[in-house]
Symmetry: C2
Subunit: 159 residues, 2 copies
Amino acid sequence: MALEVEHKFLLANENWRQAVERSEIFRQGYLSSQPTSSIRVRICERRAWLNIKSATVGTHRLEYEYEIPVTDAEEIMAHLCKKPLIEKTRHYVRHGNDLWEIDEFEGANQGLIVAEIELDEIGRAFDKPAWLGAEVTDDLRYYNNNLALHPYSEWGEKP
Amino acid sequence: MALEVEHKFLLANENWRQAVERSEIFRQGYLSSQPTSSIRVRICERRAWLNIKSATVGTHRLEYEYEIPVTDAEEIMAHLCKKPLIEKTRHYVRHGNDLWEIDEFEGANQGLIVAEIELDEIGRAFDKPAWLGAEVTDDLRYYNNNLALHPYSEWGEKP
């Protein structure tokens, strides 16, 4: 079991791009999103994973992840996942001792950029980079499973 | 990908017990059951698996299975699966060239016994043993994911 403590933010400007260490392209879909859990399939380069997360809203979740064959992941995405799939580039940005993950969405969620930090304990203090915007940790719309159901391109008003 | 072609039957009598080759105890739970797919965690002896099935009703389904750590499976069952869990003994019964799986349920589904055959191709003929009862392949109530939601002990009228 891994206990995941995460905080999500919008971005105030583009200055984070200067600090990108590396980037990866993710394609992922949801088999299920319900009150208790979400189940995700993700392909990144030539590897794929199945991920189970408890659906507790906020900063504290149970998470399990298993590597699976890419060919299985492709089939599961094509036949069993909700559409649209989530397509995004994840940029890894170092700030002090913290590694931020900045997700730049494409496809049906193009235009959305979200920064996320995962902490190893609940309530641990962290330094906020100057490029960080409003916190959206508790805003359900920004969860990837919800972006697969209600993509950013269809939001009436955008923050 | 595995294509699963299965037929389910009730039992006409207890004569199948004389032909049991071996039996295993299964405990399993469902993370999700929905129109597109079901996701199951199963523990059998000291091993555990995560299983994804397309929810097509009838004899033709997509299926994927991955072994996972038993400790993960125990936690996922305790925290994320629908209750009641499915508890059953699976008996393997040889009849001619076919290996039948006969599931004898316990717990909330005690009293229910279902025989199942998995074929390697759609429409392949198979010999029906004399102990076989009515076919219930198309009866949704007998699917394990539905037995986790509406267990046999709560059915009003029993066949």
